[in-house]
Amino acid sequence: MSPTHFERAAEATPPMLAKKIRGLSDRAIAWIFVAPTIFLLLAINIFPLIWTIRLSFTNFRVNRPNAEVQFVGLDNYRRILSDSDIWLTMQTTAHFLIWTILLQVLIGFSLAYLINKKFRGNDLWTTIIVFPMMLSPAVVGNFWTFLYQPQIGLFNYVVGFLTHTDPSSFSMIGDVNLAPWAIVIVDTWMWTPFVMLICLAGLRSIPGSIYEAAECDRASKWRQFWTITLPMVLPFLMLAVLFRGIENFKMFDLVVQLTGGGPGSITELTSINLKREAFEKWRTGYSSAYAVILFVTVFGLASIYVKALNKVKER
């Protein structure tokens, strides 16, 4: 990356200026300022990461501290990557991922489009819509199980009222067919505002003069939408999709409180599956390998995300 404006300015500053006057050199200050952060990251991130990678080649189990720890090579990885149950949890995650992203993008973009019409009081309503995404997913997820109760739950009552069915005839979290949708609904409720906010920023970044020019060329509203609005918002949308993708790939708190992975293992997302392996079955070595696989995947997606971030930043 080329040096930023600030780096160039920093270089332009006479290097010995600070020292000449009194006090520490810039270099020393830079070190003092960055060192605690680096130290903390080494202790809480890098060291555990290396430890996980090391454990992933062993058969270590936390609940059997006296058993001999054996080096098993790539065995854990081989077992995980050929395990059809884990493959199934990946598909459960995929179902959750695809539908939540699709719904959130559709609803979020529409809302942003409407809010961008700048009706009176749009700021107030935007703030109200944003509430769900700021709240604790675990606490809110737990309360949604109450809304989903057959008979007494608000959600079932409203759906029953609108479709003229008996609210106690279906159970969103108890039914094998409905549970995957129960988690999609709550996640969409919670995170649509996120996509909306980012789309709104995208829409607001389009200069009005482009539309005025299109208007002069007699381009229809429909054409304007496809040739101006959508392409201009696309980088922002990419950002939102990638971020929601990463977040929902590792989704844990909301779903574990809503369904706990059940009924059976119908809503057992990857993170919930990993939690069972690591903290219920205590297969530490095995789950370390599992964790490394997730780490690498998220790290890869994160690097694409940062690329998308920089693209948006240039706008």
Binding site: M1, T4, F6, A9, E11, G23, L24, I29, I32, F33, V34, T37, I38, L40, L41, N45, P48, V62, K117, K118, F119, N122, D123, W125, T126, F131, M134, S136, P137, A138, V139, V140, N142, F143, F146, I152, G153, L154, Y157, W189, P193, I198, A201, Y211, L239, F252, D253, V256, S271, A278, T284, S287, S288, L294, F295, V298, A302, S303, Y305, V312
Partner: protein, 313 residues
């Protein structure tokens, strides 16, 4: 904006857009209003069919949230005498007496301590590092910044495995210090990225002038840069606080008693026969309200916070 623009939406368009958005806002707000309302219902009202919108408000949920109660025999009730306080009276309706405070107060306090503690350290360390990244040549800067960001994206359960082992060795499991340390490390990524953006916006000329005036680098930092970055740092702090406040996965796995925060605790509030929904709702209300207030305060900086400073608006 010019006084008249052909791209300005018509009155009718605005009206349609406005009503659709307000409709969505009302629907999306329903679950939250329901939480608040349920907190003021009696247990029988809470599970009534059809769900009750109009009800006799009571503080039972809040009393149940903060106390533990035991069923008393008629003799014990006579011995206890007349109920002395309003909360005694509420409990007495069910032939119960208050046995003592519940755990909720402690758990809430833990959330406060861990939340504010980790925010404080994340902001102090983050501001220093962000200043250095912004103004000095730091070797491997871009890689470091990327690595710092990626740590935040890691799946919490995967992170919890080695942290659990490490904390167990160090005796940090279920301690405030351990949780503060962990949340500081996670929040650092956000604070560095956001404050980095805010400091980048402050013209470097101000500091140069200060340096020429005989300030040291350090003085220039806290007398020139810090005052200008205050708003940015404050909103970053609120974002860090909200993250630590809401975090569930690591808290659930690494704490069980002493240092347990509210999110893992609230779902475990059990009444007689199933969850005591008014008490759960009361606990949730007290827990969620501060975040809603912060959201209103933050509304101008929300976008920055959720995109790590990329979208400025």
């Amino acid at each position: 904006m010019s006084s008249y623009s052909i791209t300005e939406p018509s009155k009718r368009q605005k009206w349609v857009a406005g009503s659709l958005v307000i409709f969505y806002a009302v629907v999306t707000l329903m679950p939250l209003l329901w939480i608040i309302a349920t907190g003021f219902k009696s247990p029988s009202d809470a599970i009534a069919y059809p769900p009750k919108v109009v009800f006799q408000p009571t503080l039972e949920g809040y009393v149940n949230l903060f106390t533990t109660r035991t069923r008393a025999t008629p003799e014990m009730l006579v011995q206890a005498g007349e109920p002395k306080t309003w909360y005694d009276r509420i409990v007495r309706q069910y032939d119960m007496v208050i046995a003592g405070p519940s755990r909720y107060g402690e758990r809430f306090l833990n959330s406060v301590i861990i939340g504010f503690g980790s925010t404080f350290f994340a902001i102090v360390l983050g501001t220093a590092a962000a200043y250095a990244f912004s103004r000095f040549r730091v070797p491997l800067k871009d890689d470091l910044l990327f690595f710092i960001l990626s740590t935040r994206m890691m799946p919490p359960i995967a992170v919890a495995i080695p942290i659990f082992l490490m904390f167990r060795q160090l005796g940090l499991n279920d301690t405030h210090a351990g949780m503060i340390l962990l949340y500081t490390a996670i929040n650092l990524s956000l604070s560095i990225w956001l404050i980095h953006g805010f400091i980048n916006e402050i013209p470097i000329e101000y500091e140069e002038a200060a340096l020429l005036d005989g300030y040291t680098r350090f003085q220039a930092f806290y007398k020139v840069v810090l005052p200008q970055a205050t708003t940015g740092i404050a909103s970053t702090a609120i974002f860090c606080l909200i993250f630590a406040w809401n975090e569930y996965a690591l808290a659930a796995l690494l704490t069980s008693g002493t240092a347990q925060t509210a999110p893992p605790f609230i779902p475990t509030i059990i009444g007689t026969g199933g969850q005591d929904w008014p008490a759960v709702a009361a606990g949730a209300t007290i827990f969620l309200l501060p975040v809603m207030i912060f959201t209103i305060l933050l509304r101008k900086h929300l976008l920055r916070g959720i995109t790590f400073g990329a979208v400025r608006k």
